[in-house]
């Protein structure tokens, strides 16, 4: 090595950058008022927000899986002409600013919105500012992440196995359920975990479409945001809860499934 100085500099900068990435997490842990942790965590606002967050994000992850897995399958196997257009459009919410998505959902499903008007007039259903609205917003934001992960897994599957299954008389549905799904299991679980983590942390789309009413539609991220100016310590504790849940689940999923899926 003729110029060790360059390498040394590069290593130093890389480690610094890594510290930058890890710092926010670390400092949340350091600043959390541990002595008041139990106290704040058992407050009604915190418990409500936590419960709403868990409830909506779990439902959103399930809905995203039910919609996203068949969709990914179609995107991975279809040779129809519009497929790449559909794929591009599916990815749009990933790059769409979430508030814009929230506004759009409100325009579509609001009480006076383009669809919402009919929902309300015909069935008396009003979506905005309900927990259903939170779930819709979360699915909207999280779906692309799931589709992206699962579609690439389906693509990498050996189509020879699917051909073999067809010669044995398996219908397309059976090929999907019995051959493709088990083959992509690891990535599907990882995709659902990712979608769930996105849903849990979702803020922009939910707050515009569902509002932030404590005990009704206020999720943990909204509570953190609302309390940062008035009750900083409580908001730190909630941040800690949020980080521990999302990072914890992703870490568990990663160890159990992702490494297996990546081989």
């Amino acid at each position: 090595m003729r110029k060790p100085s360059t390498s040394l500099g590069l290593r130093a900068i890389a480690l610094f950058a890594f510290i930058l990435v890890a710092l926010p997490l670390l400092s949340i842990f350091i600043r959390t008022p541990w002595s008041e942790l139990g106290n704040i965590a058992s407050q009604k606002t915190t418990r409500d927000a936590l419960f709403i967050s868990l409830e909506t994000s779990v439902i959103a992850a399930i809905v995203a899986a039910l919609l996203g897995v068949p969709l990914s399958w179609m995107l991975a196997r279809s040779t129809a002409r519009g497929t790449s257009l559909v794929r591009t459009i599916c990815i749009v919410p990933m790059v769409l600013p979430p508030v814009v998505g929230g506004i759009a959902l409100l325009t579509a499903f609001g009480r006076r919105g383009v669809f919402g008007r009919f929902l309300y007039d015909w069935w008396g259903v009003s979506l905005p500012f309900t927990r259903t609205a939170i779930v819709i917003a979360q699915v909207f934001v999280a779906l692309p992440f799931l589709v992206l992960a699962v579609e690439s897994a389906f693509r990498q599957l050996d189509t020879g196995l699917e051909d073999a299954a067809r010669t044995m008389g398996a219908s397309p549905l059976r090929v999907f359920l019995r051959v493709a799904l088990p083959g992509a299991r690891g990535s599907i679980v990882a995709g659902i975990a990712l979608a769930w983590a996105r849903s849990l942390g979702e803020f922009g789309a939910s707050i515009t479409f569902a509002g932030s009413f404590p005990g009704k539609t206020q999720t943990l991220p909204m509570a953190v945001y609302e309390l940062v100016a008035t009750d900083y310590r409580a908001s730190l504790v909630m941040s800690l809860i949020l980080v521990v849940i999302s990072v914890g689940v992703i870490a568990t999923m990663r160890d159990r499934w992702m490494t297996g899926a990546q081989r």
Binding site: I13, V95, L143, P172, V224
Partner: protein, 322 residues
Amino acid sequence: MEIIAPDKRKIAVRRGIVDKAFRGVVTAGSMISLIVLALIAAFLLYRGFEVFRDFGLKFFTSSKWDAGADDGSIAPSFGVAPMLVGSVVVATIAISIAVPFAVVMALFLCFYAPRFLRRPMTSVLDLVAAVPSVIYGIWGYAILMPHAKGWAETINHWLGWIWIFKVPVPIFERSPFIAGVLLAIMILPIVTSVAREVYSQAPQDQIDAAYGLGGTRWGAMRTVVLPFGKSGLVGGAMLGLGRALGETVAVYLVLNLVFKVNFQILASAGGSVASLIASRFGEAGPYELKALMAAGLVLFIITLIVNFIASSIVNRAGKSQR
């Protein structure tokens, strides 16, 4: 072996009802997502149209955001110029800080890091992607800002003679600079993982050849890996830029939204279209709501353009590598 579809021939297949249903569900699912997204643009356009019609180009050039008085004594006036400029300024700062760090970190992870560091560091990068952005917001607000304020003062002290580093009043909090730094940290993981992905595909034989010709490791990076990964990196940067443009809550917490076009990045006045929407949305009347939707449409289009550029660059890179 894939199934070769017979050309120009309809394949008449008798399918069970379950299969028909399955196909129906799959097709419907994809159609729904297609329609919803097309409708989003349409709704935004439809709702925002009135505002575009009323204000025309002034919507983009004016700095005034005033919902007017209910009794009509003050006419409403909407312009997003400061927010638009603010979004671009903040995102630019974020990108110019994040990309160099991401490149170095990706190089380190691919070529320099000892094995025992590589795995945990990659894992942490992936895990950080799961951290909700509001966490970054509160961290930026409570912990980063006091420090970044000091950095801003230092920059102002030494480089204050350059116009963009000047401040009209010596307040260094909630500036575009701080928002940019925070966003840089937020997008660092995603840009790094894209860069790492690209660099890990660099042709090993060429790297070996560069070594073989008596080059240093850094020489091989410079002559082989960096040029190879250039387009891929641009794609990653654009992805980060898209996220930076759309970020709402984190920016809102560390940036002072002021309706005045401001290029002085250390001053406590800035803008961001996404944050504007989030902050105004709650108490907006019907007409202001339309103005916010118009602003959302502008943001949507900018993001689409950024991503279109990114995907075309990445596609070009993909083709030239083959």
